[in-house]
Symmetry: C2
Amino acid sequence: MVTDPMMTASRFSTRPLYLQVRDALAARIATGDWQPGAAIPNEGDLAREFGVSSGTMRKALDLLESERLLTRRQGRGTFVNDQTSDELAERYSNIRAQGGEHISGDFQILDVSEGVANDAECTRLSVREHERVCRVRRLRLCHGKPFMSEHISMPASLFPGLAKRGEFPHRITILAQEFGVLLGKGQERISIDTASPEIAEALRLAPGTPVLMLDRLIHTLDGRPAEWRLGRCHCADKFYLAEFN
Amino acid sequence: MVTDPMMTASRFSTRPLYLQVRDALAARIATGDWQPGAAIPNEGDLAREFGVSSGTMRKALDLLESERLLTRRQGRGTFVNDQTSDELAERYSNIRAQGGEHISGDFQILDVSEGVANDAECTRLSVREHERVCRVRRLRLCHGKPFMSEHISMPASLFPGLAKRGEFPHRITILAQEFGVLLGKGQERISIDTASPEIAEALRLAPGTPVLMLDRLIHTLDGRPAEWRLGRCHCADKFYLAEFN
DNA sequence: AAGTGGTCTAGACCACTCA
DNA sequence: GAGTGGTCTAGACCACTTG
């Protein structure tokens, strides 16, 4: 049965069918129509529902799997990924402990607020001058000791009402899943900074100590900036891990 | 016409056909049977030559394109990538100038040698204790001024006779293409180091100046370590760019 | 107009998982 | 043994590039 409005126009659109199907399926995941962890119908049923061949449906599902929205297991079925799972939530966390393992530390929220975007935020988040952003300042701890200061800005339009909540999840992947935002590519600019008096105090360092400056931008799946983070990291026994193909 | 020895066994192997076809095509590129920049036969002809369907051939070609060995252009044809082209040669170079553009500087070779792998090289390059490695030490310059010291080690088995040559190409991608080595994934560990007296002198810094330490490992397409580079980088007006999906 | 890669179809059969 | 995803086939038609 064809129910999606998208399908009615599909045969007249120049956009490839498998991309239209992918968008429709992604929307079901974003809206929570298909819940994290749930199994979705098999390929054949989906193909019939959308009125496309199984090959086309397969190509759409392949794409969604590469975008980390689905996991397919031969003989078992296709499942909606839970972005709060350890494996997926660590997706954008590239600081590692000496041995290469992820750091399972705690966070300390310093401040959550909302306001009009400043110049830097307008540039990095590609928002207009009068648009509002949500800001978070926090410390990341390892064994109770702070090692990283984070200044985070997000377009308020993507996460409405976030600043008014008391709670704030540790990871952007969890926040995004709550708000029905699908995340995609990220990039991070890494350089050396020296700790300002404020940073030095927060990280319990001597002022002027060199720290890693991590300027990270995470986009939504469709390419809009979703989170800008400025981190200053004292990583004496840690390193940043970059992987590329 | 079926000529590849691989094909004779294909129907009895459990390895998927499209992967066997990919391997055979990759071998033609590695050996130089198909030259960089050259056009290869169209999908239909290739499918017929290998005795597979066009869909299977297509899947193999898709893979090779994602591995950056081929480029396909609708209406024109399929071409072997030239790894010495600017775009591809910069693949593993993540240091950027202020504006984000690649750095088109020069190199100064300090030393090229070959010897038995030391402990660190055995670990990082996964070679056995008695195996030989080729070593290069060099400086990278920007506007004539050195900004990065590099210590490079490569398994001598992958690049036989390299240490005895006077010439040494600037980029690992170019070297690999010369020696018929296909490159794949890379990873880089980034941390802060302070310049030793030797590094400080080479980079014309005060000893103890903080520098970015870049510990990079590049693998072959089939996953064997191909190059280990230890870089120390004074990047006052530069940054390291990490991108992830 | 001829040739190329890109999309799409409608199946068949295989490998794997689980009740 | 029933159900799932993974592989493979043999086409058709479309979009794009070039002579």
